[in-house]
Symmetry: C2
Subunit: 229 residues, 2 copies
DNA sequence: AGTTTAAAGGTAAAAATAACCTTTATAGAA
DNA sequence: TTCTATAAAGGTTATTTTTACCTTTAAACT
């Protein structure tokens, strides 16, 4: 049956991952200093070639795990790049994914071992190939998407405070939000579970910890009304 | 330099196009009855293999032109499908695009010659491979996207009436809209140019024709305020 | 001239948003 | 022990937006 396709060209396919994290009120990106040619010493996203027994999503997961130790994280394909000369080494079609992860859950040893570093989103170094374009496209998408889907919680620890959540949205959306109105809005959705424990790191009074309630969110979502910041 | 990549597997890459049109108040899809194996006689999206000298976007445009005669239309990549057995004939990675086109501008001869037909979106036949999944994903995306970007105008003739535009949005969003409120909203954006010509096909009074004003839209867009239905 | 119909314009209640102000809990200083 | 400073959290009000629904209008056809 494959004879119908004989004669058609074949291509190398790679997967590149734009990995976002949040730390100290800043949106960060996990980048790696290439330890091997081509362009040894330059910064790049983490990537790898699609293997015969896997699909793109699995390859992306494999790469993410290799660099962070994490499994089961928010990981989505967003575009496949195919410019003829995007990789000067060969014609490589690259499917790009973005991941939103909780930095504190990553395997620091692994990150260090692979020469990867968390870089502030507005202090990016030069990146190889079309990786900067990938980052920009991913940013644009999550900036839009975070307003309609509960992405924010993917970047925070299991337990977080409302002010922390607000800081995260301010970092993603690049603008100040009114704290009273933000609190009202997020609490009115009834998708957070209040814990009776406080975080006193940032204030004397302390801020209550909350947890995202996936079950309540699913109900909200299927009932038609939707999450919106 | 390509020696760094030697030993990595290569794949067939195809492009599939989900082509949307709008006619008689119905959202439609251009589908084709396969004239050659595999699965001869079955319905499918229009597709083709990525050629050596082109990138995915160009391949999609080539395929679109082949079946409709159109160039310069709204065409966007939305996902790359890579399930191991998605095509029983061989391992084929397929990048899927959706197109929004004005049916009346298509080359009817060409469509007919290639055995393609416009099918009502809620009367879809069985589709080969994972093409139904592609259609569903594309639908989901344009349903969301049409609320924030002026996609609608891509599906209507250059000149259209407000009631026509409303019918289109009702078809995409699958719900009735209040005609007075719809009119107010769309006109308040000031992105339409009123012509002094009426369409009297659907009412005795007749409805004024309007044109989408891309320049005004760009101003609206860059000035921060945004299109929203 | 009267009837019918969709287009187009208008209005008022309700809901959501935005701006801003007040109170509260607590650590650390006085 | 009391005072002070600060961020958290709650409250108030004006403004804007949305929603539902009603009225008028233009033109074809009786």
């Amino acid at each position: 049956m494959s004879s119908f396709y004989s004669g058609e060209p074949k291509y190398l396919i790679s997967v590149d991952c734009v990995i976002f994290g949040f730390d100290k009120d800043k949106l960060k990106l996990l980048l790696v200093k290439r330890m091997r040619p081509p362009q040894e010493g330059d910064w790049s996203l983490m990537g790898g070639f699609l293997q015969k027994d896997e699909q793109l999503e699995q390859a992306a997961q494999r790469i993410l795990t290799k660099w962070t130790g994490l499994e089961q994280v928010f990981l989505e394909q967003f575009y496949t790049f195919s410019e003829l000369d995007r990789d000067p080494g060969a014609r490589v079609i690259s499917s790009a994914f973005y991941a939103l992860i909780k930095i504190e859950e990553t395997d620091k040893e692994l990150t260090k071992k692979h020469n990867a570093e968390w870089i502030d989103i507005d202090k990016l170094p030069e990146l190889i190939f079309d990786h900067l374009r990938m980052v920009q496209m991913a940013l644009e998408i999550i900036r839009h998407k975070c307003r309609f889907e509960p992405l924010g919680f993917e970047l925070l620890p299991e337990k977080f405070t409302i002010p922390q959540l607000q800081k995260l949205y301010e970092a993603i959306l690049q603008r100040k939000l009114d704290n009273a109105n933000f609190r009202k809005k997020i609490l009115s959705m009834k998708i957070l579970k209040k814990l009776d424990e406080k975080d006193k790191e940032f204030s004397k009074r302390g801020a209550f910890y909350y947890q995202f309630d996936q079950v309540k969110y699913n109900k909200l979502n299927t009932s038609g009304s939707l999450f919106e910041i």
